[in-house]
């Protein structure tokens, strides 16, 4: 099994769209992403079968292609439990992203090409076990976003696009610096390599660890909206077209969390332990502060954008706690938040497409005229506030339980204050539901707007099914992730 076929499927789809007319661009994009989804589902079954058969190696389906032998750059692909869950997330979000953009009119072909290019970047990033190719795909998953927002966006789109691109590029610069320093030490050890596994065993002086770790961690954490580097998120999300918001919050922000856990903390557990209190403090600020800022938002899209800051804070909190349980929870939270926020942005896009406003108070009573869309909004909201039976609950509880296993007062207070956000989240979600969906119908014009179309229904159903499949029986996914986490974070004698 070659997981890198995912990249080939993406590229073939892109080329097919390029070659064809814009009339069937949507159809091709849908076909391509559905094949990717089926392929990742197949990957999941093969992965589980392989693990059940007792294969305990860290990466499954490994392949190495030499890229630039002089510098020992390779494309080393393989999947573990964490990257597998991320790949599943990516394929689910991409399919629904294509579906909700079904009616794109302006430069349709280009839109789908850029969206699929982002997807290619994300797949490549999660598949790579070589930092050079990983960085290459990382950039591929960032740059097209600038165009998507600047061309198809709304509001202050040029400003937001530029801000997003600059801040994320700033993050990449830090990551690049970190990767190059690592490469330097691998050269010094006489075994130049960008390969994660080899770098894991490369000796790095203690002092150097203390400065490389923050480079990598901060660089990636910018994408996960680490406070105070989160300000690209609200602007970027609210200006982006629906599918780009879905990708941005659903997948891009997860590249950050993945990098923090799978690269920064994996390579430098000791430095991570040193910086752990700072990470926890910043994550807690992000969680609570994000939640309180969300409370004030009148624009429902901006509300979800800020709530993403709060929810991604949980990813960083789980990572910063450094216990296996909390780390598993962080990955679960990435998956859960990715699907939930994609559903949220998708539904908000559907509402905006009909009412041409995103201000909660100008909506009102929508559940009466669009019961399907309204119900999806409520389900997304309930996932966001952590209702059991939906995915958010599983992730948050795993993080809390994991965080609570550390018995000192600092960690206790941090956990409890992060847990307080579940109340604030309930407040802003219920406010949004109460204002925009319930109550008497505010505007008679909305009466004829109609409920969801087939492609919108399909997009929502795919996302809701994913939310429920994790929420109702989380054991399978949690098991896949926690097995990998426990292999990754057994103590490394060298660092």
């Amino acid at each position: 099994m070659n997981p890198e076929y995912l990249l080939i499927i993406s590229l073939v789809t892109i080329i097919a769209i390029l070659a064809s007319g814009s009339r069937i661009a949507g159809l091709l994009a849908l076909a391509g992403t559905v094949v990717q989804l089926v392929f990742s589902a197949g990957l999941l079954f093969l992965y589980m079968a392989e693990r059940n058969a007792g294969n305990a190696s860290l990466l499954l389906f490994e392949h190495t292609y030499v890229w630039y032998p002089d510098w020992n750059i390779t494309f080393h692909s393989g999947i573990d439990g964490i990257s597998l869950s991320m790949i599943l997330l990516t394929s689910v979000v991409l399919v629904s992203g294509v579906l909700v953009s079904w009616k794109t009119e302006y430069m349709k072909k280009e839109f789908f090409i850029l969206l699929l290019l982002l997807g290619t970047g994300a797949y490549g990033f999660f598949l790579s076990s070589d930092l050079f190719s990983l960085f290459f795909f990382f950039e591929l998953a960032v740059i097209p976003k600038y165009l998507l927002i600047a061309i198809w966006g709304s509001g202050r789109k040029e400003y937001s696009a530029m801000k997003l691109a600059l801040m994320l590029m700033g993050g990449s610069a830090l990551v690049l610096a970190g990767i190059l320093s690592l490469y330097y030490y691998s050269c010094a050890a006489g075994n130049p390599s960008f390969d994660l596994q080899q770098l894991y065993t490369t000796p790095v002086p203690e002092q150097a660890q203390l400065y490389i770790f923050p480079l990598l961690f901060t660089g990636f954490a910018v994408l996960s909206a680490l406070f105070p580097l989160h300000t690209w998120a609200p602007d970027g999300h609210s200006s982006a077209p629906t599918a780009a918001s879905m990708f941005l919050a659903g997948i891009s922000m997860k590249l950050g969390g993945y990098g923090c856990i799978r690269i920064a903390i994996y390579l430098f557990p000791a430095a991570a332990a040193f910086y752990s209190p700072y990470i926890i403090i910043l994550a807690c600020i992000g969680i609570l502060y994000g939640a309180f800022v969300t409370l004030r938002q009148k624009d429902i899209k901006l509300m979800n954008a800020y709530s993403s800051v709060s929810h991604c804070g949980f990813v960083l909190l789980g990572a910063g706690m450094l216990t296996n349980t909390a780390m598993t929870g962080a990955v679960l939270q990435m998956v859960s938040h990715g699907i939930m926020t994609a559903l949220f942005f998708g539904v908000i896009g559907m509402i905006y497409g009909r009412t041409h406003t995103r201000i909660g108070e100008e909506l009102g009573g929508l559940l009466k005229v669009m019961p399907f869309i309204g119900s999806c909004f409520i389900i997304a909201g309930l996932t966001s506030l952590g209702l059991p039976g939906l995915s958010g609950f599983v992730a948050e509880m795993t993080i809390f339980v994991g965080a609570f296993q550390i018995g000192d007062v600092f960690h206790r207070i941090a956990t409890v204050s992060a847990a307080m956000s579940i109340v604030v989240t309930a407040v802003y979600i219920l406010r949004a539901i109460g204002i925009s969906l319930w109550g008497p119908l505010k505007n008679e014009k909305f009466r004829e707007s109609g409920d969801a179309t087939w492609y919108e229904r399909a997009a929502s159903v795919i996302l809701i099914a994913s939310i429920i499949s994790i929420g109702i029986y989380p054991f399978w996914m949690s098991d896949i992730i926690s097995n990998t986490v426990s292999v990754l974070f057994t103590s490394n004698p060298l660092k």
Binding site: K163, L166, F292, P388, W438, P474
Partner: protein, 648 residues
């Protein structure tokens, strides 16, 4: 043990199915969802009774020494599976636990739910979202049944949240009414706030006991020789032991759900929901979840006097305060809501003053007995109120009066329920309240006096309600009512239950240590309670049997005290002040401002600075060869100097 209880999983699966089916396909077959829901509830009820029959009667061991500590009744866990594994020690196992407590709760929940389902087929007829209603009702029943059979503390938390959300959805059922929207939000947020405490309590308890399973937690925490217990009792934070913290926080969750003072503010507003929902969720089942939770962890609670005192005094305060407020309310459903809060206060303090085992454990048994009888007569009261509201199209007492002529059946049913809640002998409420007062008398005199006083007030406001609705002079006899069989049958069954439920030898089955408890009632205590209740009834009769101006004059005389109580002690206003002024304006608004202006402003400043720098150095790229040559020369000289003097 044998597998005769295998069918119990259907008790959970059937309501889940009737939640999903009408929810997904209900629009196409609206009428069927009511019949489907009611039929499946009937099966569930039969299964629950079958379970109880097997458990308590046919399969009851003649004698036995079961867990915990030589209980007569076995503790069975069925259909257990791992739902989520946190780490090697902590895993979230779902299962169906059968012990006297959960079997008793199965009977209560399924009975009331069946009655409410049946009643709703008539009451909600012609409603636009008829099948949605039944779907939500099934969701609630599923969650509540899952809650009572939970074998794992996290399983309780999961179903706890699910009953919360079904309550939210049903309170907001008439979602185009702004008051219903506000009430639904309030109910969810207040209970969520309390659940935060519950969650923290679970986390602390699981850390110290190293398990989430009830059985293991109780084994490790309820004996003072256990190392786990010493660990938890020894650790302290802010001068209070970790065990007490955990229990008080867990109790906070229970207090939120059970509307204990000062977390009760959501319950009266929750009456915005359809009346059958109020009967099921906000009177008989969900609101007693807090009592159930304390009862479930009772052996652990007994290990902390401080936590037990918190339970007892919160319960007593709620009982008294709610009873006082109930006297001043004019909305029939709100009076019943405060009365529910007051009766749950009874159950709570009864648990709080109870000890473990034997005669000391009378409070435990009495509390659950009262839970049982209260579920019957309070559901009956609400369903009668629903019939009255349907007839007069108003919730206000002043729009009612003289209804005993047009609604004789409802009037009689309501009368029996009022007698029961007032504790008049031979009705169910008498036996359970009697036991509570006896238990309180032996354990804590202050609480006993509060309970006795509350009993008097209770009979006063209940009969105030009864006389104002069904007697009084106002001529409402013109009202025509048609009561469908679907409404009268549940009223009849619940009336029978209200009269007869007291004769169940409850202490024989449900007691703190699982051994039969024979309580002797003290005739003097009974006499005192009956006399106090009688005074309440007579006062109500004197004031409200005929239309009089006296009540108005009394409340005017009482002035500020009356206004303070009628204003519900202004607790709602206090909450509003905290949420609106403090959270919204003092935390949230500044945070939003800081984010836009300081944090983001800082980023923009950085951008602007970079732009400035580039603007400044742009002239450097002038395109003139002469300038380039100059810079090149200067650079070369600088580098040379650097190489010569610095590096050497």
């Amino acid at each position: 043990m044998s597998n005769i209880y295998d069918y119990t999983c259907f008790i959970l699966l059937l309501p889940l199915l009737t939640f999903l089916l009408p929810g997904l396909f209900g629009k196409k077959f609206p009428r069927i969802s009511g019949i489907l829901g009611t039929t499946s509830m009937l099966i569930v009820t039969v299964l629950a009774y079958l379970t109880a029959y097997h458990y308590f009667i046919t399969d009851a061991p003649a004698e036995g020494y079961y867990w915990p500590y030589g209980s007569r009744w076995p503790y069975l866990v069925l259909a257990k599976f791992t739902w989520l594994r946190f780490n090697a020690a902590l895993s979230l196992d779902m299962g169906i636990a059968l012990d006297p407590l959960s079997v008793m709760m199965l009977v209560v929940v399924s009975t009331v739910s069946l009655m409410v389902h049946l009643y709703s087929t008539g009451y909600m007829k012609g409603e636009e979202r008829y099948s949605t209603y039944f779907s939500f009702l099934s969701l609630f029943t599923f969650s509540m049944l899952g809650l009572v059979v939970a074998s794992n503390i996290f399983q309780i938390y999961i179903f706890w949240e699910l009953v919360g959300v079904s309550s939210f959805l049903l309170i907001g059922f008439y979602f185009d009414k702004p008051s219903a929207v506000a009430a639904a939000k309030k109910a969810f947020i207040v209970t969520r706030f309390a659940d935060l405490g519950f969650l923290c309590g679970i986390l602390i308890l699981s850390f110290y006991s190293g398990s989430l399973d009830f059985r293991v937690i109780i084994e490790r925490m309820s004996s003072s020789s256990s190392a786990f217990y010493s660990f938890a009792a020894g650790a302290s934070f802010l001068g209070v032991s970790a065990l007490t913290w955990a229990l008080v926080l867990i109790f906070a969750g229970g207090a939120g759900k059970s509307a204990m003072f000062p977390l009760h503010i959501w319950l009266p507003d929750a009456m915005e929901g359809p009346t059958p929902v109020s009967a099921l969720i906000h009177a008989a089942t969900m609101v007693v979840a807090g009592v159930f939770l304390v009862a479930r962890l009772f052996p652990v609670f007994c290990m902390s006097h401080a936590a037990m005192d918190v339970v007892a005094y919160t319960g007593a305060a709620s009982a008294l305060i709610a009873a006082l407020i109930a006297c001043t309310q004019t909305d029939i459903k709100r009076v019943l809501a405060y009365s529910t809060m007051s009766q749950i206060g009874y159950m709570m303090f009864s648990l709080g003053i109870s000890g473990y085992g034997g005669e000391k454990g009378l409070g435990y048994s009495a509390a659950l007995f009262h839970l049982f009888t209260h579920a019957m007569f309070k559901a009956l009261l609400f369903l009668c109120a629903g019939a009255v509201i349907h007839a007069v199209h108003s919730n206000e007492i002043k729009d009612m009066g003289g209804l005993k002529k047009p609604m004789p059946f409802t009037s009689i049913a309501f009368f029996f329920a009022c007698l029961a809640i007032s504790g008049i002998p031979s009705l169910s409420g008498f036996y359970s309240k009697e036991e509570i007062l006896t238990a309180a008398f032996h354990r804590n005199k202050i609480i006993f006096c509060t309970g006795l006083l509350t009993a008097g007030i209770t009979s006063f406001y209940m009969f105030r309600l009864y006389f104002s609705i069904f007697w009084n002079n106002k001529n409402k006899s013109g009202i025509k009512t048609h009561m469908a069989a679907s409404i009268t049958i549940p009223l009849f069954i619940l009336t029978v239950a209200t009269i007869e439920a007291g004769h169940i030898p409850f202490g024989k089955y449900v007691s703190s240590d699982g051994l039969p408890l024979h309580s002797d009632t003290d005739i003097r205590l009974s006499a005192a309670a009956i006399i106090i209740s009688g005074i309440g009834i007579l006062t109500a009769a004197f004031l409200y049997l005929k239309e009089r101006t006296l009540p108005g004059r009394i409340s005017a005389k009482a002035g500020i005290v009356y206004r303070f109580i009628a204003g519900k002690l202004y607790i709602d206003e206090l909450y509003l002040l905290i949420t609106k002024k403090v959270v919204f304006n003092l935390i949230s608004a500044p945070a939003a401002w800081v984010d836009r202006n300081i944090v983001d402003g800082g980023m923009n400043l950085l951008g602007a600075a970079a732009e400035n720098v580039s603007e400044t150095i742009r002239p450097v790229q002038s395109g003139k060869i002469r300038n380039y040559a100059l810079w090149f020369l200067a650079g070369t000289i600088l580098i040379s100097l650097f190489l010569i003097y610095v590096i050497r």
